[in-house]
């Protein structure tokens, strides 16, 4: 039984904002199939009423005084940007993409 389809791989790749070529889609199908077969062993574990662990060390949300601290200067913050303008990051137009969701 196939656990994942080619169309599903392509959908996931789009969600992950990864453009895959045909060979990568085939590789992903093969690998994901193998991993999903392997992790299916978890279905056998009885987890009724078992809480989920997201974090291992129980810590309360740390609080601090609401005072400004030292921040990265804007010039330094954009120093690694591939295409900065002044102290701003630049992106191509976004509005058409927004509509696409």
């Amino acid at each position: 039984m196939s656990r994942i389809s080619r169309a599903e791989v392509e959908r996931i790749a789009h969600l992950a904002r990864l453009r895959l070529d045909a060979a990568e889609v085939e590789d992903a199908l093969l690998r994901l199939e193998a991993v999903l077969d392997y992790v299916a062993q978890l279905e056998a574990v009885d987890t009724r009423d078992v809480p989920a662990t997201a974090f291992v060390i129980p810590l309360a949300t740390p609080m601090r005084e609401d005072v400004p601290g030292a921040l990265l200067p804007p010039e330094l913050a954009v120093a690694n940007a591939p295409s900065p303008r002044g102290t701003a990051f630049t992106v191509p137009r976004v509005l058409d993409d927004e509509a696409e969701g």
Binding site: I12, L18, A34, V45, T53, V78, N80, S83
Partner: protein, 484 residues
Amino acid sequence: MSEPRETVVELSAQLAAGAITSRALVERSFERLSALDPALHAFLFTRREAALAEAAEADARRARGERRSALDGIPVALKDNIVQAGEPATCASRILTGYVSPFDATVVARLRAAGAVIVGRTNLDEFAMGSSTESSCAGPTRNPWDLARSPGGSSGGSAVAVAAGIVPAAFGSDTGGSIRQPAALCGVVGMKPTYGRVSRYGLVAFASSLDQIGPFAHTAADCALLLEAVAGHDPQDSTSLPEPAPGLSAALSGDVSGLTLGALRETEDAAPGVRARVREAIAELERAGAKVREVSLPHTRFAIATYYLIATAEASSNLARYDGVRYGRRAADGSGGVTELYERTRAEGFGAEVKRRILLGTYVLSAGYYDAYYRKAQQVRTLLRRDFETAFERCDAIVLPATPETAFRIGEKSSDPLALYLEDVFTVSANLAGLPGVSIPCGLDAGLPVGFQILGRPREDASVLRIADAYQRRTDHHRARPPR
């Protein structure tokens, strides 16, 4: 060339006594690096001039009678996913080519405050996703015990830098075994501290609930010194433990009498030669006065599956930040909009294994699959923690192999999608449960190092190191050096 066998503790004493200078140590590091690294490829970047200048400052401090710490003037290496201000940090990924960090990781700031001299940045699997250092965009690191073999990973460069005597100490990160497994395969000590013991601020995130920075060295006593220098609460990492770092070196009494060690029952995945060395190590600790009883962790057989669901889910979220906008590589402008820019940038910038893990993580978090995969894995994670809680009612520490086998050949595991994942069968549980774990050399099998692992209760980093140190006081396995 002299064969550097000294530990951090020994070098620190020699520095204090004026028998050697920091500059000479750093020069020796670069001599060995020049001689050995063309074959080993442990380093991605070095900072020779800066390191020599910092060593000279350490020597000047010493001449004035000042000493910042036991690490003052000691050369160390950093895995290339721990950022240092003004230095590159690529995570061995094309997507971060050219990135220069504007800030110091907390670990780096603390090492520098302690006087340690950072000589360079070591190779890793891309974004620490791997167990062989083969997925580095810069090519693999080779094991000094046999150049045809992998050093393990993902912190393979740091393990090799120490094993080959280029530096006496290095730091790496461990998400599923990425410190302990290469330490075992290279014949050095590697420690993953309790989750939260060391700040993750400035560690490039892979799986945030599992990632932890830790040291590589030749001895547990060195690891105690290194960990003391970097551990402790950091307001910049809200998951760092609130209490101050415990005294670790002071806990190394050499005495294990009165301690009970739990020998793991489920070791059938380990090769016979590995099991034999680990049995001998346990017997040595028994002769040293520890009590040994068998313990079982029944859910560890689900640990790899649990780990790969949780780690990839967290990775898919963490790696969303590489979008070609704020830092790193950006694909050449196409005709499309911002989504196309993201997709092309990430397609060009990430390697195959990183893409696979992002896809798996995105899949298990996506609508319709979240409960079946991600939530299920988090529930099994709870059962695994409970296994450890039950086991630690009967023992003070658990002893087990660090890896199922000794170093494998480069390329040997690249075709089977699961073979490399199974390398981590003995290490991932400690990450899932947040426990401290250390891998200690315990002899050779067919000329290759074997590591045994000690796991402790959460926060009991000191007792793990104490047991490891007691073992090393009674044995010489950590003095074995690779043939080159």
